[in-house]
Each structure stands twice: as C-alpha cells, then as structure tokens.
C-alpha cells in the first residue's frame, strides 16, 4: 500500500489564513504597544511592512500550490482549495491595510 498522505499535506491549505491571522495580530498588537510607548508615528511603517510581507508570503505560497494543481489524487484538490484560501486571505490582509491607510493611529 502506498504511504498515506500525512495531515500536514492538507494543513498546507491553511497557510494563507494563518498569514492573515499573523498579520492581523501584528497590526493590532503593534498599535497598542506603540500607542503606549508614545510612538504612534511608527505604526504606519509597521503596517506597511507587515502588509507587504504578508502579501508576498501569500503570493509565494499560492505560486507553490499552482504547480500542484495537476497532481493526482487528493493533492490537486487540496491545492485548489489552498489557492482559493490564499486569494481570500490576501483580500482580507488588504482590507486591514486599507483600514490603517484611512484612519490615524492612536486616535
């Protein structure tokens, strides 16, 4: 019998949402900390950097899954699910970034 796929083969589909969660935590927590430190001006830079890193990471992951679409078995279906989740996560990351672009920090 062929070796069964481990759960982590499916868990890779969760990379996009996990990056969204990390980005969300980073931009929210950093505002609390920077406000307390009296360094509100730094938050724009933190959000911009976090958003770029998050989007690039999601794009990289989505790209790696793109080549797996043609694989056989459960892998190709999981790859399609992963790509769609990456797209939704990227959109949600952009939403959070836009909130920072339109509203002042620590106000």
């Amino acid at each position: 019998m062929s070796r069964p796929l481990p759960l982590r083969a499916a868990a890779t589909a969760l990379v996009g949402p996990t990056i969204w969660a990390a980005h969300f935590l980073a931009v929210y927590a950093s505002e609390s900390l920077l406000c307390r430190a009296g360094a509100a001006g730094w938050h724009d830079g933190v959000v911009t950097a976090a958003t770029l890193v998050a989007l690039l990471s999601i794009a990289w992951h989505g790209g790696s899954q793109w080549s797996r679409r043609k694989m056989g078995g459960a892998r190709h279906e999981l790859a399609r699910i992963a790509i769609a989740l990456d797209a939704l996560s990227a959109l949600a990351v952009c939403f959070a970034g836009l909130a920072a672009a339109t509203l002042p920090a620590c106000a």
Binding site: M1, E77, L91, F95, A96, A99
Partner: protein
C-alpha cells in the same frame, strides 16, 4: 494488501467480503452492540443512544429558554407593566440568553454530530464512546441544576455576557454570578470533550476511500466547528476562572483601581463569543448543504468553494471580537481592523449562500418541509447578515449599540442561521431513525407559524431600537412611541410559540425511534447515513469513491446490508471500527471500542457535583466529589487500551493490525488536540497578562536590580531533572530489557519533580511578600501558578496511573498508548512551566523602570 486509494471508482473488482455470510455473524454483531435495558440504559455509550439523549436534552433547554423568552415578551407587551419584578426580569433575560447559547445551541449541534457523523462517515461509532457519554451526562446534570436556580431566585442576573464590574463581588454579592461562572465554565469543558471526539472521529474513522474532498459537507462543518471550539472556548474558560478567583479570593483582575481592567473580561469573552456565533452557524450551514442537493436532485454546486468558505469563516471569525466593543474607547484604527475583518468574513458567508441558490437553480427543488425551513433560513439569515454588515460599521454601531436593533439582528442571525436549519434537519433526518417520517401537513403549519411569528416578533424590533429603546430594560413609560411595536412583537412571539407546539404535536404523533426498521431513505438522498443502519452502524463498511455514493452505486445499500463490504463481523468479539488515514482514508488499523459501563457516568455526576457544590461553598462535599470524579475516571481508563489481538482480515485481502501507538493511534491524536486546548488557554492568559501591563504599568514592580536567573535557578533545575527522567523512562521502555518497576519509579519521581519546580516557584513569590490580592499584576503572577498547577496535577495523576499500569503489566514496549500520552502531556507541561518562569520573572525585569 490492496491499495484502496489507487483503485478507479468504477472498478468492477469483486466485493471485499464473500457472500453469503456465515450464519450467526449478524446476530453476533447485534448481541455485541445491544443496549442495556431499563434504567441500565444510562450505562450505554453507543452514539445513537447518546445522540437521542443529547438532542432531547438540548431541545428541552430550547423549550425552557423559549418560555423565558415569552415571559420577557409578556413583561414588555405594555408600558409600565409589573408582571415580573425587576430582579426576576434580570434573572430571566440572563438565563434566556445563557441557556439558549450554552445549553441549547452548542449542545444541539454537538448532538447532531454525535448522532449523524458515524452513520455519515461509515463508522460503527465515534472513537471515544465513553468520552461522548461523559460529556452528555455532565451537561445533563450540570444544565438541569443550573436552570433550577431560577426557581430559588438565585439565578445569575448580569446578562448572558456577565460583564464585570457589575458581576464582581462588589455589585453582585450573592451566588448568582458564581452559578454562571462555575456552572457554565464546567459545561464548556463538556463541550470541549465533545469537540475532541468529533475532530478525531472525522479525521480518523471515515470509510475507506472517503478522502477529505469526498467527505460530506456536514462533516467538514463539524470538523471546523470542533476546531473553533478548541481555540475559542479556552478564552472564556480562562475568563470564568479569573472572575471566580476575583469573587472568591479577591484577586483583582477586573478592578481598575487595583491595576485590573473590566475590559479584559470583554476581550476574553468576545474572543470566544464572536466565533461562538459561527460555531453555532457552521454546522447548521452544513445541514443545509446536505438537504439542498437532495431536495434539488443535483450535487452541491461549488463543493470545493464551500470548503474554502468554511475554512475562511473559521479563521476570519476570530478577527471580529472587538466589533462587540466598538463603544469602549478603543483607538479608531484598531476599530478599523476589526471592521475590515467583519467585511472580510461576509465574503465566504456569501459564497455559501450563492452556492445554495445555485444548487437550487441547477436542479428542481422539491418543496417539502425541510425545503421550506431551508428557504426560511435563507431569507432570515441573509437579512440578519445584512444588518450584521450594518453594525460592523463603527459609526452606525455607535447609534445602534445596546438598542433593540441589536436584539433584532442577533435573533435574525441565530434563530435564522441555526434554529431554522435545525428544524429542517429534524424533518429531513427523522426517517433515518424513526419508523414514520414527520407529517408534511403538520410540518407546513409549523413552518408557517414559526416563519410568520418570528418575523412579526423580531422585524419591528429593528425600528423599536432605531427609535431609541435600549435592550435589557425592565419596562418603559408610555408615550415613547414604543407601545405598538412592542405589543406586535409579543403577539408574534406567541405565534412563533404556537408553531413550536404544532411541531411538538408532530413529534409526539409520528416519531417512533428504532434501529431495526426506520422509514429509511424517503428522500432518495446520496450519502451514507441513508444506508440501512443498526445499533452497530452499517452491516459492512463500503469503500467510498464519490461524494454521493448512493447516487453513483445504486446497488450499494443491498451489498452493504448483505455484508459484502469491509468488516461485516466482529473480529475480536467486541465493539470495533476501522481507523483510516486522515487525508485519503486508507485503512490503518481496527480500533476496539469501549462498551457500556458505570464509571464514565459516575465521573460525570461527580464532576458536576464538584463544580456545583463549590458554587454553594460546600467545600468539603465538593472535595469528596472531586476525589470521586478522579477515582471514577481512573476506573474508566483502566479498561481502555486493550492488549493487541493480532492481525484482522477486514475483507478484500486487507489485513490490519488491532493495535496502534504513536502518531498512528487515534488516542495520540486526541492528546494532541487536548494539548492545543491547553495551549489556547495559556495563550489567552498570556494575552491577559500583557494586556494588564499595557493598561496599568504603574502596578508592575520597579527594578530592584536582582537578576532573574538567580530566582529561576532551582525551579529550572527541577524542570530539567523532570525532563531527564521522562527521557530516561522513554528509553527504558523502548529498550529490550523489561524493567517496569524501574520505569514506574522514574515516572513518579519525574512528575513529582515537575510539581516540585512549580511549588518552589510559588514559594519564592510568596517569600518576596507578593500577595495575589495586592494588584492586577500580583493576581496575574498567581494565575500563572494556578494554570501551571492545573496541568502539573494532571501530569502527576496520569504518571501515577501509568506507574500502576506498568506494575500490573498493562504497559510494555508494544502496548504503550498510556505512556505515549503521558509523555506528550508531560513534555507540554515542562514547556509551559519553563515559559511561565521566563514570563513571570523575566518580563517584569525587562520592562521595569
């Protein structure tokens, strides 16, 4: 061995088991799975029986909380009403929300999972039958006692989300809040037990060939539901622990003048509370995804997209908690992040709605009672979702906050999103368990009354709220313009209640539960739960090659019932099911399941007794119950982890082991999920610790120049010793020499070293003069000790249990699941203890001024 995953779907290969089956094989299965009769049915653990009990109890709480809702509506029907006293009214609206959320909604969907999942996945039962039964009995006993507090005037009265400082000792000095904190906190533990059962069940007990992407959507939703419980419930469990510590011992976590913060409660509560909405909604959406294709006679449109949507909702819903706190003074940009996440979650929710509409459009919807409830759900839930997007806008929310607009919105979401699908599900799946289906005629009446009654009751509340009526008010003066709207709402509520009565009449007239000859597949559905089912599940377990196997393989029901597929017998003489791999469902081993017993029942009653007696300050009796609970759990677990019984031929040339340990074992998976729960609890604590530092840094200790390393030295050394003893015992067990006594001694010493490390740490804090009552900071330091003690206590008890099993010859190099689980928990406890040391000693020094 045949490679199941590589066989093409329409392979005309011979069926796995030869026909005809030997005489007496089926009768033997029936005998093994037969339920105890009479009052001894309380010892039964089979998912069907526990599922019935669970659903009946959840529905009982729905009715009880519904009656409370009617009392609320009677009180508000006219201005200046004195039908209820203000105190009673406060208790009633608190209990209405609490019972609906904690005793009805979550248990009802867990109940549906326990009843339906094994049938749907092709398993004989879920992997931990006694754990499922324990969760039910704990919920049943705890829930009933909790509800009865209303009759003694001691029910909680601080609202279902129990905000301090109102619920602190100063403003709520009675025991009402304690009932909520200990009663509900304990019922949440039962929900987590059910979630572990569901996660391992969905991932490891699917029929051979049922890959993750061939799994019914309902199973997907329950998997995500249970995963969300694992991460969301610990936050509220921590909150209840902290508030109870504050009330009982004066540890000021939520008292602002002592460096605590009442908003910490709101953060922890809503980190649970918002995902809770989706925890309730997702399984209901899963039910809809099962019903719609059957009624439209076409496969679900966008199966993969729905899976994507479910996962996305599972994640995004954790980024919404502050949208319940828009008016608490949080910075505008932070509010923007949560508002943005609230917008983002609308996209996957919309995907599901469009997929259902597309499925209906692609087929030809047969208008049955389940279809009507689904249509009602689509209309009501969509309206609730739209008002949800409105209140996700900060400026609008500032106007609507705490008004009847919110009451309308949350009922549209929860009643529309969960209760309508639940009624659809009851009408849909009743024929699978009852000799007769429910009545179409009575069902249509019930639907009409419920749908109209609901809208007449709750639609006007949007306006009542927008013209200024706040929620939770006991009464209101005439002349505010609220009278007519309130009277209409009350009439609607009674119309809704009339619909529920019609449904009850239908249930009493038509439901005749049976596992011998149910009405069966009256809808011509496509999934496995519609195969002939018995107390032992399916007669034989089929290979699944598609999402709707009954549509693809018309002869499947006959073959399965004849015993032509896998495991058509009991190979070991006991209850058993096939364990498969998590992604592709390749058979891996045959799991032996536990049967009826008293120990899990006693454990549930004693656990409930422990928490409930603590509430009324009967500490000695509570202690006795605690000891009784631990002893019962030990007795229960002693019979588990049976010795290997050789290889088992399940048919089709596949021979499977009857025992597995390590990452292949289902038990190992459950322990990993439990560790995730523990980690989520500790992360919630970490959030609380850092949060209090950001809001009240003046209560943090000033620098005294002492190095952190010196005070950490002794506890850290003891942790190291504990770790070394764990590793030594593992190596001894792996080795060829048989030395159980020595390993047992190492286990006891090693777990004692862990407890010793934590004791030394607490003593050191105490000796510096730090007292938990002094400040929020000090309370957090001792809260860390409390959490560490909790897990170290579990390791100590499990270590003693494993040592006893070693001495009794029940653990060896092969039969080692108990040891492996102990090692996992122990290693986790060591990591958490080391982190706790660094946090409580290192962080204050790092930030000291």
């Amino acid at each position: 061995m045949t490679d199941i995953a590589s066989r093409p779907p329409n392979d005309p290969a011979p069926l796995p088991s030869e026909l005809p089956r030997p005489e007496g094989e089926r009768e033997r299965l029936e005998a093994i799975w037969r339920s105890p009769r009479g009052w001894r049915v309380i010892t039964e653990v089979n998912n069907t029986v526990i599922g019935y009990f669970y659903i009946a109890t959840a529905f009982l709480f729905f009715l009880l909380a519904g009656i409370l809702g009617l009392l609320i509506r009677l009180q508000l029907a006219v201005p200046g009403n004195d039908f209820l006293s203000p105190q009673t009214y406060n208790q009633i609206f608190t209990m209405h929300g609490t019972v609906m959320m904690f005793l009805f909604a979550v248990p009802a969907v867990e109940a549906a999972g326990i009843l339906l999942l094994p049938q749907m996945l092709g398993a004989r039962d879920l992997p931990f039958p006694r754990l499922g039964a324990f969760a039910f009995w704990a919920y049943f006993v705890g829930g009933l006692v909790f509800f009865c507090t209303l009759f003694f005037g001691t029910a909680p009265d601080g609202g279902w989300f129990m905000y301090p400082p109102l619920t602190g000792e100063r403003f709520s000095p009675g025991i009402g809040a304690d009932w909520w904190l200990l009663g509900i906190g304990f019922i949440e533990i039962s929900a987590i037990a059910g979630a572990i059962e569901i996660i391992v069940g969905v991932l490891r007990t699917r029929a051979p060939g049922m890959t993750l992407t061939k799994m019914p959507i309902f199973a997907w939703t329950l998997l995500i539901f249970a995963g969300m419980i694992v991460f969301a419930f610990p936050a509220v469990i921590l909150a209840t622990i902290l508030l109870e510590l504050e009330r009982a011992f004066g540890w000021p976590f939520f008292i602002a003048e002592k460096g605590g913060d009442p908003l910490l409660w709101q953060h922890l509560f809503w980190f649970f509370g918002h995902p809770e909405v989706y925890i309730i909604f997702l399984p209901a959406a899963g039910m809809v995804s099962m019903i719609v294709p059957t009624m439209a006679r076409v496969p679900l449109v966008g199966y993969r997209l729905i899976v994507v949507a479910l996962i996305a909702v599972g994640f995004f819903s954790f980024g919404l908690w502050v949208h319940h706190m828009f008016t608490t003074g949080i910075p505008a940009r932070s509010l923007g992040f949560f508002s943005a996440a609230s917008m983002a979650v609308a996209i996957p929710s919309g995907i599901q709605v469009f997929a259902w509409i597309a499925t209906i459009a692609a087929g030809r919807l047969k208008i049955t009672v389940p279809s009507l409830f689904v249509i009602g759900f689509l209309i009501i839930f969509t309206l609730g979702g739209l008002t949800g997007v409105m209140v996700a806008m900060v400026p609008f929310d500032r106007q609507a906050h705490d008004s009847y607009f919110i009451v309308a919105h949350l009922h549209y979401v929860l009643f529309g999103g969960m209760v309508f699908p639940l009624f659809a599900a009851i009408y849909y799946w009743a024929p699978a368990f009852s000799r007769r289906p429910l009545s179409e005629r009575l069902g249509r009446w019930a639907f009409g009354l419920i749908f109209l009654g609901f809208n007449i009751a709750f639609l006007p509340m949007h306006i009542t709220g927008l013209i200024g009526m706040p929620r939770r008010v006991y009464t209101y003066p005439a002349g505010m313009g609220w009278e007519t709207l309130n009277l209409v709402s009350t009439l609607g509520a009674f119309m809704l209640a009339a619909g529920i009565v019609v449904f009850l009449v239908d249930v009493m007239c038509n439901i005749r539960l049976t596992n011998v000859k149910p009405a069966g597949d009256v809808w011509q559905a496509g999934t496995l739960e519609w195969l002939p089912n018995h107390a032992f599940g399916l007669r034989s377990i089929p290979r699944v090659d598609s999402r709707e196997p009954l549509w693809e393989q018309p002869g499947l029901a006959r073959e399965v019932e004849a015993g032509a597929h896998y495991l058509p017998r009991s190979a070991t003489g006991g209850r058993e099911t096939i364990v498969t791999s998590p992604v592709e469902a390749q058979p891996q081993y045959v799991m032996r399941l536990t049967g009826p017993g008293y120990a899990h029942f006693a454990a549930a009653v004693f656990t409930a007794g422990f928490f409930l007696l603590l509430t009324v300050k009967a500490v000695f009796l509570a202690g006795l119950c605690g000891v009784g609970a631990i002893a019962s759990i030990m007795v229960w677990m002693w019979e588990c982890d049976q010795a290997p019984a050789g290889e088992i031929d399940i048919g089709g040339g596949i021979r499977l082991p009857s025992y597995a340990s390590g990452p292949v074992s289902h038990s190992w998976w459950a322990m990993v999920v439990l560790m995730m729960v523990a980690a989520a609890l500790y992360l919630s604590y970490l959030f609380g610790y850092l949060y209090l530092w950001t809001v009240a840094p003046q209560f943090w200790p000033k620098s005294d120049g002492s190095p952190a390393l010196a005070v950490m030295l002794v506890p850290a050394a003891l942790l190291l010793v504990s770790g070394v003893l764990l590793e030594a015992s593992r190596r001894l067990l792996d080795g060829k020499g048989n030395r159980p006594a020595l390993i047992a001694v190492l286990l006891v010493l090693g777990t004692a070293a862990l407890v010793g490390a934590l004791s030394v740490d607490i003593l050191q804090h105490w000796q510096t003069g730090l007292r938990p009552q002094a400040s929020g900071y000090a309370a957090m330091v001792y809260a860390n000790a409390t959490l560490q003690a909790q897990i170290a206590g579990a390791v100590l008890l499990t270590g003693a249990f494993a040592a006893a099993r070693l001495l009794a010859g029940r653990i060896d190099r092969i039969r080692r699941v108990v040891f492996d689980n102990l090692a996992l928990l122990w290693a986790y406890a060591l990591g958490q203890a080391a982190f706790g040391l660094l946090l409580t000693h290192g962080f204050p020094r790092l930030v000291a001024q």
